[in-house]
Symmetry: D2
């Protein structure tokens, strides 16, 4: 399959949509992003890497990091994590406290903020350096040692992070954090503020296309856990628009408010599209349009 | 692949679980079902049909009918339906009125009861006989002219249907029904009370494995709509356990409180498992166990 | 105290506010009301009756009837009613289904629509003619045999009553109605569609100012139940604005979307103000303003 | 009226109920309270003080302090406070975050924890020492210079205060705190941990019985604001049991998890009952029973 051509078509289809998005502005450091930027990369299980547009420009990965945090927590830990966080779609916006209260401190899934805080806490207990573990995984898989936390972004998130602080204290109230609230928040902000490019993320997501194997052939996740992670991505990976994403794109995907969406073609590769303009649900308008165009043209969806 | 052997293994794996389920007892006619019954059938896109256990025993299809109602509404109608019903997971039990109120009468998806009532209403407007249209589709695809509504079940549903009546009146209050409340409820109960076997449903679901084509080669749905229906099944098809189902089974699936789950292997076939004992979310314990065992052993999931 | 003068002052204070209200328009028969109309009457426990404006003009009493339905259900029945309906403020708009679902079919209080349906059902069981019982009470206490249900209003409520039908079916689903849904709705619409004037309602509410005694000296409610009914009026009588009403007016009160508010001066009298224009919470703008002015000027609040 | 005799009767009626309560145990310092303790005091507007039982034993005032915080915020500030906090019953347990989220950071009323945090923040801005201002008011009105914060209780609240910290961060997220989260929490814990006796609180609450005048005749609140505070107490003063309290006791009242309830007899006096055992809603079983008995026997309710 001529992937390069399909990526170019996808970019062409996405460009007219870029103006409809709105750059995340809840912290000044993110608000400075260029709404017109667009990049896309595909890393296949055969070892090919294709890219278009700003595919090597680093950006703030934000919630896409939650995918790697979860994979590492499952790698180092075990099914015990699933007693502290659920696997169901939330049916509510991504940072809602409501379900947390009605469900007694057990977040609906690992990708809403509350769930990601619990996963970060678990990874911190398992490794002693949750955000460092995520950073090292991204560096190793992408082969790019420049992947790093942007301190200004992390500091800005912390300074404007009353909602996440509320979530963390609420989890602590229900006994669902093991580390101090401040430690968990620090590592959470640090892994969300990692900067990487489409190419980096497509390479780093390869283990999900290879049924759990890392680039060097070692196993990060069991075949079953890799399948499960894809399932959680498909049902919960794009905030309150998981149904829409499954419907339009038909692939497991994880989005971030930095504008990236990382999608998995099981057995074939990992695909990352990025553009900073977001739709009201918090997903990148350009990335959605590009992924939609790509899967429609190639017929490569899981359905 | 030796499907027959995998079906036998799946049945063997499911049998010990049957005792853990609880037969639906909200209407007397369903409460009489045999909790120890189990059947499973696979109809491949190559035209093979395999079955084990009570694979030709008819049972009440219940909410599995919602899948066919939706397919027919999309066939006869168009995207207009999606202005009256959403495509997102509900994050709430299957018959909840809460989201309906907070979201002004637009049900979250076509598979919760409120959404299925809207789809039934739309199909009634399009065909003049919603439940008849579903029945004829099942008969034609399964080749079994005995597929029919069980009048006692339909009557029993109506007699105990205050919750569905509440939902229908609530939809009418928001202007989201075109036909009289009583007409919509009558056709809703009639298609839920259709009786068919695992073999019948596996054959009838084939169009979703064939990217929209019916058994006779005619097109029921566009390739895109077939993909979309699979996506909605995966994210919303098993009540409040869609995440769990995607995680364990990894296939698009639609369940019913009669004990059936119809799952799709895109490009390969349709698989129906049935056993009347339900878990607390309303999904068949035996069918879940069998589908889990089948996909684990064959490696046939979409992820 | 020169009540007549205070009523005139209250009317003068209310008149400028009339334009800010919006006549209830969910049924055509109510939408025809004159937004500029205003009346007010006070019936004292000494037997005096004072009135200003359109104090003898009949209007649709709507939810004010719920007060009399409740008093009669307590008179004929007993504390058993309080196992079927609560006494707490709802914290939600007056016709919400949400709390009904989360609280398993026990309405929060007797004045939200769901609660009033349960009380109507109880009174129907106790008397065989719930709406007739309310009508006769109003006629006897007011001395006005012309008090009667407006058939056009009742019919219009029924024709546009999908929301109340949803509530009634939902209560039936939870086993909290004893009579058929249609019977309960019929009597509910009939007592809401009673027509009476400010003077009629002030006289009819006298038993709450006389600690339970009717105009003829016979006992409708025990002293304790009369006190309790006043308490429920104060905390729940004005939909989602009970706090605002208590804060501004400082009296037990019950409002209706016909524009009336009946307020009780314990030991002194009953006061009814009416003007059809409503605020967003469903309470009459003019009646609120008049009652506020009256209690501020006279110092007659319970606090 | 022989108040002393009525107090003795009320105590006699309450004693059998004490065993049904459960001492607050969310912090160790409160869990040590004696469930069998009981005290009650009445301070009349005529200057009499009556007491029974442990009426001079100091205890943790907890949420009763919210009443004085609110009075001082209204004294020093103005109606501006009501743009930051509502006056409606919450219809939800006292520490719920749910309504805070759906209502965008404006707490339902000043007596739920979220509302009290906002009032504390406002008082801190107005005085620079919110908890000190409350302490000085209690000392001055009670004439007891020993009224003071128990440091161990305040520290224990802070150590177990993840839920309040969550609320405060959530309010800060919505821009509804002016001071740093830690400052607001410190003063909140300090005024909740004030220790005073039934006699102290009955004397301190006198301004609400005297229509806003302090013991020395100076004005703390306007007549209108005093009336309003009583109204807010009646509709919101006893957590999710305001309807029950109004129904049984029929007086404005404010309760705390230390076991006290302060009730106002407008124009006559202030009444404080205390016993540490709580009902599931967080109100003292013994204090409720005593106040119920007192108002029933004396006929002194506002209704």
């Amino acid at each position: 399959m001529d992937y390069q051509r399909f990526l170019e078509q996808a970019m062409a289809a996405a460009l007219p949509a870029l103006g409809r998005g709105k750059v995340a502005d809840y912290i000044p450091a993110l608000a400075a992003a260029d709404a017109g930027a667009f990049g896309m990369a595909l890393a296949t299980t055969d070892g090919e890497v294709h890219g278009v547009g700003d595919d090597t420009t680093p950006f703030s990965v934000q919630s896409v990091s939650k995918l790697f945090t979860l994979a590492l927590a499952l790698h180092h830990g075990s099914d015990a994590l699933w007693r502290r966080v659920g696997r169901e779609p939330s049916g509510n916006p991504f940072n809602s406290l409501i379900q947390l209260e009605t469900e007694q401190g057990i977040p609906r899934n690992p990708f809403i903020n509350a769930g990601a805080l619990v996963v970060t806490d678990a990874l911190q207990t398992l490794t002693g350096d949750a955000s460092g573990a995520v950073r090292e995984l991204l560096r190793a898989e992408s082969g790019n040692p420049a992947v790093a936390t942007a301190p200004a972004i992390a500091a800005s998130e912390a300074a404007h992070g009353h909602r996440n602080a509320a979530l963390a204290h609420f989890l602590a109230h229900f006994g669902n954090l093991r580390n101090p609230v401040d430690t968990v928040l620090e590592h959470y902000y640090a892994h969300c503020a990692l900067e990487a490019s489409c190419r980096d993320l497509a390479l780093a997501g390869g283990f999900l296309a290879r049924h759990g194997l890392r680039a060097d052939g070692s196993r990060l996740l069991s075949r079953t856990d890799a399948k499960r992670l894809n399932a959680v991505m498909l049902t919960c990976g794009t905030y309150d628009a998981a149904g829409e994403f499954a419907y339009r794109v038909g692939l497991p995907g994880k989005s971030g408010v930095g504008g990236a969406i990382l999608a998995i073609l099981p057995g074939r590769g990992a695909l990352c599209a990025w553009s900073p303009g977001l739709d009201p649900a918090g997903n990148s308008v350009g990335a959605m349009a590009a992924l939609d165009a790509f899967t429609t043209a190639t017929g490569l969806s899981v359905f």
